[in-house]
């Protein structure tokens, strides 16, 4: 049982504000992911929950009790570090047993033995128990780090990019394993990552952080389909969303997106009508773009020229030049275009996003 509340939490390093006015509510038994680029303050947030970094101001509540002034050992957290932080002078067995050997836990050797073996079996590490961390591969070290957290039943699991140092195949494997192991955690999990696909795959809810601020909190489909601003939309998706700047104008009583001679009709909405004359940018996800040789019979297209086409196995990414902009589009692997070939970049109207240019605030989301 553990819910965590962060209230107006700030963290400064000298003049630099690493985390500014952070408010988060993490529910009991939730898999909560904090997503953001490096330097966004994700790890700092996690370390403040763990008690490794003191908060500059604000409160952290665990089950309603303020814990921001407790030392790390007084809080009931287990943490998996990005660097694993294994104890190099101890065997795998002793590394996993270490939390249980803490004097305050008063665990007998028999209980420790049982707990370590149980965890080692879950992680498939039972044949490596005598080894030192230095002799293990990256994936094995990662498992030991997980095991050290799993061996006790803490109120909260904190995971700081546990998969970021693994190679792509192992990362996907471990991601599946973490997802499958959720029941064995049986606690609230706060998981930090910079990989949006990891966040979408694992999280019950995701908080997107940028420069010490939370931009949006929501379920994976909420943040992916209905981002609150351009930043969130940019963070989620690979290749990232394409943007085209322009203005909203009125054409025969309908709002229209205009860039030079390009005019794209927008759905009728009172909100968009209020923004007539404002600088905006149009967002399109690469997977929603079709490249066509014949001119589409809808008004939702832009003229483009093929710039580069990269084959990625079962599909390809085409970079096309739209005026001065470079757009990325997903296309079929066997669809070969020639360089500089004129193409119609088309999309379905329901897949359009529209953001305010200055604040990044969303005006139109998918399905609106």
């Amino acid at each position: 049982m553990a819910d965590i509340v962060l209230e107006h939490v700030r963290k400064c390093y000298g003049d630099h504000e690493a985390v500014c006015d952070l408010n988060l509510e993490i529910r009991d038994q939730e898999f909560f992911v904090i997503l953001g680029e490096s330097g966004a303050g994700k790890t700092t947030t996690l370390k403040m929950i763990a008690g490794i970094e003191p908060v500059t101001s604000g409160a952290i509540l665990l089950n309603g009790q303020p814990i921001q002034n407790l030392t790390p050992e007084e809080r009931d957290c287990a943490m998996v570090f990005e660097t694993y932080a294994l104890y190099p002078h101890l065997s795998v067995y002793e590394n996993i047993a270490f939390p249980l050997r803490a004097p305050k836990r008063r665990t007998t050797d028999d209980q420790i033995d049982q707990a370590v073996l149980r965890v080692a079996r879950i992680l498939g590490m039972d044949t490596f128990l005598d080894r030192r961390p230095a002799t293990l591969s990256g994936g094995q070290r990662q498992r030991v780090a997980l095991g050290r957290a799993l061996v006790r039943q803490p109120a909260v699991f904190l995971m700081d990019e546990p998969l970021s140092h693994l190679d792509a195949r192992l990362r996907n494997e471990m991601r599946t394993e973490i997802k499958a192991m959720r029941e064995s955690f049986g606690s609230t999990i706060v998981y930090v990552t910079h990989d949006y696909s990891e966040a979408l795959a694992l999280g019950d809810r995701i908080a997107i952080m940028h420069r010490g601020r939370v931009e949006q909190v929501g379920t994976p489909s909420q943040v992916f389909r209905r981002p609150q601003n351009r930043l969130v939309a940019e963070t989620l998706g690979d290749p990232p969303m394409n943007f085209l700047s322009g203005t909203i104008s009125l054409d025969q009583d309908r709002s229209v997106f205009t860039n030079g001679s390009w005019r794209i009709p927008l759905p009728a909405s009172p909100r968009l009508r209020r923004c007539v004359g404002k600088e905006v940018c149009l967002g399109l996800r690469p997977q929603h773009i079709r490249l066509e040789r014949a001119r589409p019979d809808t008004p939702f297209w832009l003229p483009s020229k093929l710039f580069v086409q990269e084959l990625l196995g079962d599909h390809a990414v085409a970079s096309v030049a739209v005026g001065d902009y470079l757009f990325m589009a997903l296309c079929e692997a066997d669809q070969a275009y020639s360089l500089d070939e004129p193409l119609y970049l088309a999309w379905a109207p329901e897949h359009m996003y529209l953001f305010l240019e200055d604040t990044g605030e969303i005006l139109l989301a998918e399905g609106d």
């Binding site: 790390p72 943490m79 190099p88 961390p133 050290r148």
Partner: protein
């Protein structure tokens, strides 16, 4: 190709040979001297072929002369024991104080931290002679002259700064996250220090213990000025063989050889530890 490789190997052998002669030559010479009888030792030109004898060793340890006749009880064993006591006590005190000082300097931030660290270091580059006169006055007034406590305290000037600076580096090399992980795992500051930090700097401790011991063992000036008959050390004892009417070269050489033994034993046992890199593999490698 072949010739240049051969040339380099010859050059390497020559260089190493020169170094070995330079480093080991004096020791071999002393070892030979210690095994010569009183006539061979002063022979000119020096003799390289001679009948080895243990008479010098016998004379300074158990007090038997060349004809196994008992002479006055030699002082050398007492000097040896004195040095052993002083050097061991010095290292023990330094280790106790220095480990904590080094850890604090490596991990905690406090006011004037770097100034304090620098002050420690400055004891090392100030010549011993600079402090010896004031120390002499202080020791005389407080009655610490010619006492084991006094010499152990004075020797801290040699060993403590060195120990602090070396161990500080070792503590700083421990990734902070390892200690943080241990805190999160439920250990207090003291628990982390004892269970994680200290074991991880074991190679560093082994290295500084042996080097501090050697520094203390070999010290001459403090022992000469602040010591006395009661606390005479081997370094001074060896000097004592230069008598008024003659120099007992053979005894001196034997005393020197015996004096080297503890250092050799220590170095032999801890050389495995003097390998850094125990922390390898702790953090993603």
């Amino acid at each position: 190709m072949m010739t240049s490789r051969l040339f380099r190997r010859i050059l390497k052998a020559l260089g190493l040979g020169a170094y070995f002669t330079f480093a080991l030559g004096p020791i071999v010479w002393i070892a030979m001297m210690s095994l010569k009888n009183s006539n061979d030792v002063i022979a000119s030109p020096p003799k390289f072929v001679f009948t080895p004898t243990l008479e010098n060793y016998k004379a300074i340890t158990v007090g038997l002369d060349a004809h196994d006749v008992e002479t006055a009880r030699p002082d050398y064993p007492k000097y040896f024991l004195n040095t052993l006591i002083i050097a061991s006590a010095t290292v023990a005190v330094s280790l106790l104080l220095g480990t904590f000082a080094a850890y604090s300097l490596a991990r905690f931030s406090f006011r004037f931290k770097e100034d304090i660290a620098f002050t420690f270091l400055s004891f090392r580059f100030a010549p011993e002679l600079m402090v010896i006169l004031p120390l002499y006055v202080v020791f005389q007034k407080t009655g610490l002259i010619d006492s084991f406590t006094g010499l152990t305290a004075a020797y801290q000037l040699i060993t403590l700064p060195f120990l602090i600076w070396v161990l500080r580096g070792f503590f700083e090399d421990i990734p902070r996250e390892i200690e943080q992980a241990a805190r999160v795992d439920g250990y207090t500051w003291w628990g982390v220090f004892r269970r994680i930090s200290l074991p991880l700097v074991k190679p560093g401790i082994a290295a500084v213990v042996i080097l501090s011991f050697i520094f203390a063992w070999n010290n001459f000036i403090f022992a000469m000025i602040l010591g006395g008959e009661r606390t005479q050390t081997v370094t001074l004892g060896i000097l004592g063989f230069i008598g008024y009417e003659r120099v007992l070269w053979g005894h001196m050489a034997a005393a020197t050889m015996i004096c080297v033994i503890p250092e050799l034993i220590l170095a032999f046992f801890v050389q495995n530890y003097i390998v850094r890199g125990l922390t390898f593999g702790a953090v993603k490698g």
